[in-house]
């Protein structure tokens, strides 16, 4: 007995097929000169593409500020952006989880580029010894991240050959600015007294930063945010703070601050007052209009807060 209600959904699904199929077909014939659609998963990659691509490309970033890549759930329109994308830039090395391995396969249909893996490959070919290879947070080392500029620029040029000159020009300019940034961070972090140069955060996002700028890094819990800290993790981290007399500990923008607060109070109650050194931007950029709205801004803000809280010197030009 098919009641009236059952026939209705059947009709609806037929209508949908028509709309879905036609939607995809009309986009392909869009005017070539319009900016090529590029999709970037993380804010850092989106910023890189935007700075290189300029008006030739329309870059859509999936993970908006404050969104933890491990907990990212796409909204419906994100799918449409993916459909229309002529290039997909993603981080790789497991940051996006299973989506990353799926995107790797997408390469057959649409050009994709694992930016973090490219950065590591560039560094390897330049003879750098890479201590860490499985950690996806490559953008934390400006020097390494810089390696990805040329790979991204080349990929963008393949999509829009007519923008090749502006791309190489912007790539060179960006490389210079990254080098300056890399240097600036190195000096600033170096100004922190050796003994208390310990960066404690909620999860291990800053390993590359520590290796590149010679600062010891400790995360309270493992790499993936779904792991949960134990009391021993809290006590052990607090003990390090007390032992090394580290003045500050940092919250991350995408992580629940409870574990950091627990370590801070554990260390303080043990006779060594520790201060919250402000919010660092680990896995995502800050507010678009805020100081950490773009990659360079993010790295400067992070460094600024780390150096200031840990007792380093910040010349006024900072």
């Amino acid at each position: 007995m098919r009641t009236r209600r059952q026939i209705l959904p059947g009709l609806l699904s037929l209508a949908l097929f028509g709309m879905g199929v036609s939607g995809a077909v009309s986009d392909v014939h869009a005017e070539a000169r319009a900016p090529a659609a590029v999709v970037a998963t993380t804010g850092m990659i989106g910023d890189l593409a935007r700075r290189l691509g300029g008006e030739c490309f329309a870059v859509h970033t999936l993970m908006s500020p404050g969104v933890d890549p491990h907990q990212y759930r796409p909204a419906a329109q994100d799918i449409r952006h993916f459909q229309r994308a002529e290039l997909v830039l993603y981080n790789g090395l497991g940051l996006e989880g299973q989506l990353g391995s799926v995107l790797a396969q997408l390469g057959k249909l649409t050009p994709t580029l694992p930016v973090a893996e490219e950065a590591l490959a560039a560094a390897e070919s330049a003879g750098q010894d890479l201590a860490i290879t499985s950690d996806p947070h490559v953008w934390m080392d400006v020097g390494l991240w810089q390696g990805a500029i040329d790979a991204v620029a080349k990929k963008l040029a393949q999509v829009r050959p007519d923008c090749r000159e502006t791309l190489t020009e912007r790539a060179a300019d960006l490389t210079r600015r990254f080098e300056a940034l890399d240097q600036w961070i190195g000096e600033r972090v170096n100004s922190i007294p050796e003994s208390q140069r310990v960066l404690v955060t909620a999860h291990d996002a800053f390993a590359y930063y520590g290796r590149a700028y010679d600062i010891e890094v400790r995360g309270i819990q493992g790499i993936s945010t779904t792991a949960e800290a134990g009391v021993a993790d809290i006590r052990e981290t607090a003990a390090v703070l007390v032992e090394r007399e580290v003045p500050a500990i940092f919250i991350e923008s995408t992580i629940n601050p409870r574990t950091v607060e627990a370590v801070r109070s554990a260390a303080s109650s043990d006779g060594h007052p520790v201060v919250l050194g402000g919010t660092l931007y680990g896995d995502a950029l800050g507010e678009a209009d805020g100081p950490a709205g773009d990659y360079i801004g993010m790295m400067r803000t992070n460094t600024h807060r780390i150096v200031e809280a840990l007792g380093g010197r910040l010349p006024d030009d900072g």
Binding site: S13, A24, P74, I79, T226, A227
Partner: protein, 305 residues
Amino acid sequence: MTDLLISPAVAIVLTGMLVGAAGALLGVFLVLRGNSMLSDAISHAILFGIAIAWLLTGATSGPVQIFGAALSGVLAVFLIESVVRTRRVRQDAAIGLVFPALFSLGVVLLNVFARDVHLDEHTVLLGEIGFVWLDQLTIAGWVLPRSVVTLAVILAMDALFITLFYKALKLATFDPELARTLGFMPTLLFYGLLSLVSGTAVAAFDAVGVVLFICFVIVPPAAAYLMTDRLGVMLFLAVAMATASAPLGYISAMALNVSIAGMMALATGGFLILALTFGPRHGLLARRARRRRLTDQPTEGTSSA
């Protein structure tokens, strides 16, 4: 996008319909047996299977992980049944004892052994219907989304099991003791059903995520249960509502720019509310109408038990 056989929109909706049909088909028997919460238990037990599969093989994704996850679903069901068999704990408490323990064991194992490896449910199971069309494979020259292929096979297996054992399942669900006296093996059937639920669950988690699967297994069968008194019609209605929820969910998700799986799940909720109010016999309106008729002619009332 290059020449895809099926446009992403169709791939997403098709995957949703396949999961809906498979989930609802098995869900009818789970709801009638009073085991609907097993679907939630299986979804949490998966992490334990992932941890064990990684410890044994080091794989962070791929078929061995999928198999490990399905196996841990069946393990959870077996442990729940053994706890219930001691007759000291009821089934709902047994479910609530077993799956948190398995989940926690999984978390501790991952935390201790895989501390620096990127491994959790997200790395093994995609669990996002929005991206199913990205994952293609070619069969005999046809480029098809992998999830559509796997789910079509799973749906076929579920449908085959249900049609083949329809009589035995019906009797074993209604009156397990009589089934045993007539020579059927209700416990064996039950384990067969739940292994299929576990396998379907893992494939569904990979394609659409936990939430949508649990909704498809419980909500359409419950809605159908309120609309009919025939098992065959209940199966048909449950599958129909589940498959209809996929396109409805997709359209509303696109309109509101929210999670597609989430809206598909809410669409099944919409059907439930429809069934609740307009259900021919058990709906609220029908019930109120019958009560009004009773008060008009008090003598001729049918005593419904």
